[in-house]
Structure formats: C-alpha cells, structure tokens
C-alpha cells in the first residue's frame, strides 16, 4: 500500500513564505521622486507654468521669487518651466532608447543563448563589433550625418544599448536552458517558440527589467552629456544637459542655473537605480526551503 501524503493539508498551509523584505524609507523616497518627475514631465503641458521659451530680457538671471520659483536663466526664461520641459526630453530619450535596446537585444540574446551554435557566434560577433565603436563618437557621427533631432538621438542611443541587453539576456538564457524544467518542456513536445515564450521569457524578464532601469539611468546621463556638448537635442528644445551647458556661463553669477538641473538629473538617475535594484532583489524567487 503506498503511503500517500494525505496529511499534506496542514503542511502546505504552513509552507508559503511571503518574504516581506522591509522596504526602507530610501526606497519609498526614490519611488516618490520617480513618480513625481514622471508626472511632472507628463503633465508639463497642463501645468500652470510660463512657457519655457518665453524670453524676457529684462528679467535675466533673476533669483528665485514668487513669480519665477527657480528664477530665470541667461535669456530670461523661467527656470522651473525649463526644468520640467527638460524632464520631458530627458525622460523620453531615457525611456525610449532602452526600450529599443531591451526588445531587440533581449530577443537576440535569448535566441543566441537558446539555439547556440553558429547563430550564437554570429550574434555575439556582431555585437562585439558594435561594442568596439566608441559610443559617443558613433553618436556624433550619426547625428552629424543624419542631423540632430530627438528621434535620431533616441534611435542611436537605443542601438548602442543593444549589445549590453543581448549579453544580459544571453547569460540568463544560457544558465536556464540547461535546467531540467526546460528539458522537461522539450520532452513534453513543446515547440521552440513555446519554450522560449512560456518557459524562458518569464525567467529572463526580471534580470532584463533590472538592467532596463539601469539603462534608463545611463541613457539620461549620456543624453545629458551630449546635450551639454551641444550635440544632443537641437535648440530651442532643451534638456537637462543643455541647461547645464548653458548654466556653465553663469557659474559665477548664478550657479543655480547649472546646479539645479544637475541635481535634478542626479536625483532622477539615483532613484531609477534604487527602484531597479530593490525590485530585482524583491522578486527573486527563493529556490527550495531554508
């Protein structure tokens, strides 16, 4: 007579472990800032702000006042409005470029890690070639050739991010593809597509997401650097980077013109990193018991 685990009922009821990791105040602060900045950027159009392009030459470099909360810049434009509209640009590029990277790079990486062989060598090889180009120079060359625009900038930064995402996806897929549950799916008669989508993707998704958030942070900084050099978004569109660039001239008179966008960028990047890291740590499934 087989001994069946009929007494399992109490065992299983006791087992589930919801590991509630204490989300510290730092995490919540990061979330708050991220939500705030995203909301501000999204609703920039409807907020009661003066236009960021309105120049008032009589009010140049005015300190913070009731009329202009963060003062005005070298051309008399409202700093707060510029900051929030700048957020739009920085965040748009910052979010869209990595999306290109994660979809194309993630797909390539998963396919390379799953199918191996010559396909993998081809993918890895071409990514290596792409990585070998100095990224900033490549970005400059493309914008010089195709012209400066938000769209071009987003695309080039997106493409530059593909090798890194490919690496992450491939590494995750390599470790998983040898695991028994994937072989089990194959033994059940699952097609490759099914295995990739139902078995591998849910497991590769999280490392990719964590890396994506990191990618957002990095892209914001890179875009900022390019705009600082005057090679990013073309004027009159301004992002945080170009604001810092312009603020450079007023460093002695009105240092806040450079520092405020810099601090805002810093806080945003830091917040994305914190949220990404915590999310990744939280959703790691615990394998087995204690």
């Amino acid at each position: 007579m087989a001994t069946l685990e009929l007494s399992l009922n109490e065992d299983v009821a006791v087992t589930p472990v919801r590991r509630v990791r204490r989300l510290g105040p730092l995490f919540w602060a990061a979330v708050t800032w991220t939500v705030f900045i995203l909301a501000a950027a999204a609703f920039a159009g409807v907020l009661p702000l003066p236009s960021p392009t309105d120049m008032d030459m009589l009010e140049r470099r005015m300190p913070m006042s009731g009329l202009h909360w963060l003062g005005t810049d070298g051309l008399g434009r409202d700093e707060l409005a510029r900051l929030i509209h700048g957020a739009r640009i920085s965040l748009t590029v910052g979010l869209c470029a990595p999306v290109i990277g994660v979809t194309i790079g993630g797909a390539l990486g998963m396919l390379a890690g799953y199918f191996r062989g010559r396909f993998e060598s081809l993918v890895v090889g071409s990514m290596d070639v792409l990585l070998a180009f100095p990224p900033l120079i490549l970005a400059l060359a493309v914008t010089a050739y195709l012209g400066q625009s938000l769209f071009n900038l987003t695309c080039i930064l997106g493409v530059l991010g593909i090798p890194a995402f490919m690496r992450v996806a491939r590494a995750a897929t390599l470790t998983l593809a040898r695991r028994e549950f994937v072989i089990a799916a194959e033994a059940l008669g699952a097609t490759h597509a099914r295995i990739l989508l139902r078995e591998l993707l849910p497991n590769v998704f999280l490392p990719l997401l964590a890396f994506f958030l990191l990618g957002v942070a990095v892209t914001i900084v890179v875009e900022g650097a390019l705009s600082f050099l005057g090679l990013g978004v073309p004027p009159p569109i301004s992002s945080w980077g170009s604001m810092i660039g312009e603020g450079r001239e007023s460093l002695e008179v009105a240092p806040r013109l450079a520092f405020i966008p810099a601090i805002t960028m810093f806080l945003t990047v830091l917040s994305f990193n914190l949220v990404g890291d915590t999310l990744r740590a939280l959703t790691d499934p615990r394998q087995g018991a204690l």
Binding site: M1, A2, T3, E5, V17, R19
Partner: protein, 331 residues
C-alpha cells in the same frame, strides 16, 4: 568509559534568527567521544547534524547563538579566543566536508593547499613540507603523488579530491576528525574505498572520528557508537551493535525499515514514514516525531521526551512508547 572523553558536548543548543522566526537548529544535545573511538551521527536533512558539527568546530554563522559547552581535550571551546581556536583547528581538530569541489580552493594547486597547512601548523620548512605532502598523498592512495602537487582540484575526479581533502585533514595528526557526509557525493565503489581509508587511518593514528551521515548502512559496520538525530535533538544513542539489535525509538526503526534492502524481493512495498520532517522555525509542542509516529499517544503531543536509559546505561532513547514496551513485533 575509563579514560576521560576527548570531546564532550554538553547541553548545546544553536539558535539562528531567520526572516521566518527563530530557528532552533540544535536542541540541548549531549555527546561524548573518547580517543580512538568512532561516533556516527545519523539523521536526515534538517535534523541539525551539520549545525552540530559547526558548533563543535566553532564555525557557526555570525548570527547564530550557541549555548552550552564544548569541551575538547580539557578546554572549553565556547568563548575561546580566536587565536587559540585557530591553532586548534586543522591541528588537533580536523574536518572533511561533503563536497570536495567546494571545500578545496579551486584556484590553488593541491600542493599549495597541503603545504600551506603543514607550514602553518607544524612550522615545517618548504622542502620538508613538500616531502611530507607527497607521503600524505601516497598514504591516502593517490597514484603518482608528486605530479598531483602541481595539479588543480578540477583536474581530479571526485574520489581523488576527497582523498586530497582527507590528506589535508590528516596532515597535522589531529586527535579528532569530523567527517561530514564524506561519501554522499561519491559513487558507491569509491564510497567503499574512502570509508576503508578513513577506518585505516583512524586505526593507525588512534584518532577519534565522528562520521555524520544520513545512511544507516555507512554507520553499521564502521562505528563504535551511533547517535540518531531528529529535529535538532538526539533521539537515540547506543553502541552500534546494541542499536541495530534493538531499536527503541520508533523513528530509528522506521528509518531503517524505509531503506530498500538488497536482499529483499523486488516490488516489496517499503514501509515509508508518512509526512515530512518538521519545519525548524515552527517547533512542535511535545515530541517532534509525534505527527508521524504510529505509536503516538496523548503524552507524546504534550511533552518532549528526554533521553532515558534502556537496560544498559549506554543505550539511551527519547520516547514515551519505546518499541519493546509497545509490545508486539513491528511489521
């Protein structure tokens, strides 16, 4: 026991804080072992046997809380300062772990690891240490020992690596060797060789040995005394022949019955123990084995049985309904 015990574990308990609550890994354990004797500690995963060995070696994780005393060769190891503990470990007190791939440093050659230990504890110079290393490798049955000195662990098979680990453990002539599941990761023919090796070295050096295992077969022919652990406690302890002749605690008996025997006919249903070992973070009131025990009575659910002596004082068990008193032959 005419001579004083070499190792005396007195009322040792180990608590580990975990996110799910306090984990009592070891619960008031007493053990002794004399020089030259072999003690087998048997139990399944989660019974606390590995934590116990770490407690003896004072190698517990930082967060763990240890209470009780561990007397080795006259000294109490608990609270001993780090420097003196370091001198003891490797020298008088040695360990062989289960997985030699992780217990040997993968980036150092075999020679380096052996020589390092010798130089550290015996203060031999380089040449003497090298000579001694070759002798040790030969003694543990490794062919071509000189060549092995320059090899890395991954170049050796599992059985070879375990022999190297044993050589390192024995290098300083320890008084006590703790072997924590030394053969679990090895094939059965290699297992036999490694156990023979340990027994041989033990006899030659008059060394005390603790073999920790989940396999009753391993302890049967090779130990003087056996302690069976369940849920952090010792539930039965006896000289080996006495234990196998008459098991008192139902868990021990059930454990033995659950092992497929080579001389049983195929398709004989195995008397399995229902349920699973308890979750150490949720201690059971009363005897830990009671939810799975067929003889459990009201008292078993209420109180924890303490170790009491059977006919001979050497044989102890923790049970309110030990088998011979339960009457009848167990199927």
């Amino acid at each position: 026991m005419t001579e004083p015990a070499l190792l005396s574990v007195e009322d040792v308990s180990v608590d580990l804080p975990t996110p799910r609550g306090n984990l009592r890994a070891v619960d008031h354990v007493d053990l002794t072992i004399g020089a030259g004797r072999t003690l087998g500690i048997v139990g399944e995963s989660g019974c606390g046997k590995t934590m116990l060995s770490r407690a003896i070696l004072q190698l517990l994780p930082k967060k763990a809380k240890l209470s009780g005393r561990v007397r080795f060769d006259g000294q109490d190891l608990v609270g001993l300062n780090a420097e003196r503990l370091r001198k003891l470990r490797g020298r008088s007190l040695a360990v062989v772990f289960q997985d030699p791939m992780t217990s040997l440093n993968p980036v150092l050659t075999i020679g380096t690891q052996l020589i390092e230990t010798l130089q550290e504890h015996l203060e031999l110079d380089g040449l003497a240490a090298k000579k001694r290393s070759v002798e040790l490798l030969a003694a543990v049955g490794i062919p071509a020992p000189e060549q092995r000195l320059t090899q890395y662990p991954h170049q050796l098979s599992g059985g070879m690596r375990q022999r190297v680990a044993i050589a390192i453990a024995l290098s300083c002539e320890p008084k006590l060797l703790i072997a924590d599941e030394p053969t679990t990761a090895l094939d059965v023919t290699i297992q036999a060789q490694i156990l023979d090796l340990l027994a041989r070295e033990q006899r030659r050096r008059h060394m005390a040995m603790i073999i920790i295992t989940h396999d009753l077969g391993v302890v049967a022919g090779r130990t003087d005394e056996v302690a069976v652990m369940y849920a952090g406690r010792v539930v039965e302890r006896a000289p080996t022949p006495a234990l196998f002749k008459k098991m008192h605690m139902p868990y021990t008996q059930a454990l033995l019955a659950a092992i497929p025997k080579i001389d049983a006919a195929p398709h004989t249903p195995l008397p399995a123990i229902s349920g699973r070992p308890p979750d150490p973070t949720r201690p059971v009131q009363g005897c830990s084995f009671s939810p799975r025990c067929r003889y459990a009575g009201a008292q078993c659910y209420r109180e924890k049985p303490l170790l009491t002596a059977a006919e001979s004082s050497a044989h102890q068990y923790a049970c309110f309904h030990p088998i011979q008193l339960a009457g009848g032959v167990i199927a």
